[in-house]
């Protein structure tokens, strides 16, 4: 009986996790293996897979050495990510700091800041387009500039190749800062208040308190938010479709749009899978680098 009991317990435990493992295997592991497998074939997604043409590493070679559109898309996504990592996260952190204090209507502000997050990307994109565009919409940005006496800065923000990507990045920051805000606020609330009290007694200024208490203790949270920002931003695409209708001669092209173009525009499923694998590898490498960086900063 004594021997049977641990076995039974082990089986019970495995029984509990079995459904989750099964679902994970079917919907994540198996498709991933299939994607990897498909990336070595030239296949249009229509003829039976047995008729697909094996091409070895040529899809990956084409991506690496010939597909300049792909790397332009990666650079564009990288630019939006850098803007999000800096502007969006600094804004989120500052607002979280403000809401961490005992201020009136704190919960109301939290709610307001989180609203953009729950909106659909397409809706945000189309609404922003309506607000920004002169011909189709309200031309709000140019009107504001005009009322501030800066009408010489008025511009076709979305249809100028020099400003389209930056406009996309700024709208993305507005849409996404709520996530960072919420996580930062939760992190700030775990910092013992006694530390702030002690600092105040010792005569530390607000800047010193932020630099020597808040930021060091928030490093794990900052690292987490940074990784989530990179993963979320690099996969941006619906917002771009809503804002500028697509790739805009490559100026607002991003990896997911390139993958979709390979699948639907060119019917190159194998190539699209190779792009997906390459993109996944880039994301893993960037996340790993960030993880190491945040660990070093924490140390």
């Amino acid at each position: 009986m004594k021997l049977a009991s641990p076995l039974k317990s082990t089986l019970e435990n495995y029984g509990f996790i079995f459904p989750a493992v099964l679902i994970f295997s079917i919907f994540y592991i198996y498709p991933f293996i299939q994607i990897f497998h498909l990336s070595f074939f030239e296949w249009d997604g229509i003829v039976p897979f047995k008729d697909a043409i094996p091409v070895g590493w040529s899809n990956f070679k084409e991506i690496s050495f010939q597909d300049s559109s792909w790397w332009q898309a990666v650079r564009n996504a990288g630019f939006i990510t850098v803007v999000a990592l800096t502007l969006q996260n600094i804004l989120a952190f500052l607002l979280a700091l403000a809401c961490d204090r005992e201020i009136r209507m704190k919960n109301f502000y939290c709610l307001i800041f989180f609203i953009p997050v729950v909106l659909s990307e397409i809706v945000v994109g189309m609404t922003a387009r309506f607000l920004i565009s002169g011909l189709e919409g309200a031309d709000v940005v140019n009107r504001m500039l005009g009322s501030l006496g800066l009408s010489h800065l008025a511009h076709h923000w979305l249809s100028d190749p020099h400003t389209a990507l930056t406009t996309v990045a700024l709208v993305h920051c507005w849409k996404g800062f709520g996530w960072g805000f919420l996580i930062f606020l939760a992190g700030l609330q775990t910092i013992p208040r006694e530390l702030y009290e002690a600092a105040r007694v010792d005569g530390a200024s607000a800047w010193e308190t932020l630099r020597k208490i808040t930021i060091p203790l928030m490093m794990p949270v900052i690292g987490l938010v940074a990784i989530l920002t990179v993963l979320g931003t690099m996969q941006i695409f619906a917002l771009i479709i809503g804002l500028v209708g697509g790739e805009f001669a490559g100026h607002t092209s991003v990896p997911v749009l390139r993958i979709l173009a390979s699948m639907q525009g060119s019917s190159r499923f194998g190539y699209a899978c190779a792009q997906g694998i390459t993109f996944g590898m880039i994301l893993i490498a960037v996340s790993f680098f960030q993880y190491r960086l945040s660990r070093r900063a924490k140390a």
Partner: protein, 427 residues
């Protein structure tokens, strides 16, 4: 992920046809045409009342999602009895080679071509593979067109009057069109709107002008690789877009405009010209029933060759593995007869494919129908361009329109991709 899920689907036993039916009693039809769904369902009711056969129209929109669904179903052998194929001729050919599409030639040619002769020739040709086609498909007719569309230019007659122009005399030449820019600027009116954020619409106008400037033979020779895109005639085509940009005849942001936005602008009188398909008749009717507009051919840039326009048919294919194949063909024959076609045209404002109905359509639709003879389409050419070349062509023209590249630079880039793809194919 989608690709993997599509690939990962297990196969259903052949011949299920996707519809668990008692033979001949229920036909499943998949389509993507949101604007036709109500009319098709009404016709399905009429067919059931007449024959006892139930027709179920299943709508899957938007078209991108539909396209993926059909491909995944082809892999899983779970296609319905009747379905539509979105994409290019090579995709159509791939479905046929995968054994998913029935050859309808015998039915079309029965009784001395009775069914075939009832339909617009161009609409039938869209679904036909001729002997020696480059896809290696057995010659035949593989689809049944249910309506036809052409893509042309439209102009707002009221805005023409405001500009002091004759609303019955649109610009006939490219020069006249460009010269209108002065009048447009003076009245601060946006000129041409179109969904040029989508590569295919910009490519469509470019190919119209390519046919006009160099003729069909030379365009097709380019696609076969016998003429480079850097040829002076192609540079002329690219230069037209440069001229349009410089003159100011294009509306602001046309390159980032999706077609729905362009339709809203034109319907609300915020643009003088639109480049749009005949489906717009229904769209404008919904957006602004009082809109006074007319159809015109894209203004000719050359008098050497006729102007061409794009024309394509929305078609249904019969699943070659369906148990209800014969009943499906019978239903499609009924659907393309005069009464049903007249009803579809009246309800959806699309061009009917039954030639007997063409004399009985709305005046604005009739203007589109008048130019059907000038219609052409990549699906009719028997030769296809590499997708990456097409994409680079669209992008290159977008770059010209935003003033980023010269026609020569854009042409050189297209040719570079063409040579790379040709080399890859030869390997």
């Amino acid at each position: 992920m989608i690709a993997a899920l599509a690939a990962g689907c297990g196969e259903m036993p052949a011949g299920t046809g996707g519809s668990a039916t008692s033979a001949g009693q229920k036909i499943i039809v998949w389509h993507w045409m949101t604007d036709r769904q109500d009319a098709l369902q009404e016709l399905a009711k009429r067919y059931e009342a007449k024959t006892g056969v139930k027709i179920v129209f299943e709508l899957y929109a938007p078209s991108d999602a539909y396209s993926q669904k059909v491909r995944a179903a082809a892999q899983a052998r779970a296609l319905p009895d009747i379905f539509g194929i979105l994409g290019e001729k090579r995709d159509f050919a791939a479905f046929i080679k995968a054994g998913c599409v029935a050859n309808l030639t015998r039915a079309m040619e029965a009784d001395n071509h009775a069914w075939e002769d009832l339909l617009l020739k161009k609409a039938v040709a869209i679904n036909e593979f001729k002997a020696g086609n480059p896809y290696g498909v057995e010659p035949g007719i593989y689809g049944v067109p249910i309506d036809f569309m052409t893509i042309e230019m439209l102009y707002n007659k009221d805005l023409f009057k405001e500009l002091g122009l004759d609303p019955d005399r649109p610009p006939a030449t490219f020069r006249e069109f460009i010269e209108m820019a002065g009048a447009l600027k003076a009245k601060n009116m946006p000129g041409l709107v179109s969904g040029w954020a989508e590569d295919w619409m910009i490519e469509c106008l470019a190919l119209n002008y390519a046919f006009n400037i160099m003729g069909e033979d030379k365009v097709l020779a380019t696609m076969r690789g016998d003429v480079p895109y850097t040829d002076p005639d192609w540079i002329k085509v690219f230069s037209l877009f440069s001229e349009m940009r410089e003159s100011g005849v294009l509306a602001e942001g046309v390159v980032t405009m999706v077609n729905k936005t362009a339709e809203q602008l034109f319907a609300n009188g915020k643009a003088v010209f639109a480049f749009n398909g005949s489906w717009c008749v229904n769209v404008y009717q919904g957006m602004n029933p009082t809109l006074d507009y007319a159809v015109m051919l894209p203004p000719e840039a050359s008098d050497k060759n006729p102007m061409s326009i794009w024309g394509n048919a929305s078609s249904f294919m019969v699943n070659a593995r369906s148990k209800n194949k014969e009943e499906a063909v019978t239903f499609l024959q009924w659907l393309t007869r005069r009464d049903q076609q007249a009803y579809l045209a009246q309800r959806t404002s699309n061009l009917p494919v039954n030639i007997e109905c063409l004399g009985n359509i709305s005046p604005i639709l009739a203007q589109f129908a008048d130019d059907v003879e000038l219609a052409t389409h990549p699906n009719l050419w028997g030769v296809s361009e590499f997708p990456l070349v097409t994409e680079t062509l669209g992008r290159g023209i977008q770059s010209i329109v935003i003033g980023e590249k010269t026609p020569e630079q854009a042409a050189a880039e297209v040719q570079k991709v063409k040579e790379r793809e040709s080399l890859k194919k030869r390997k």
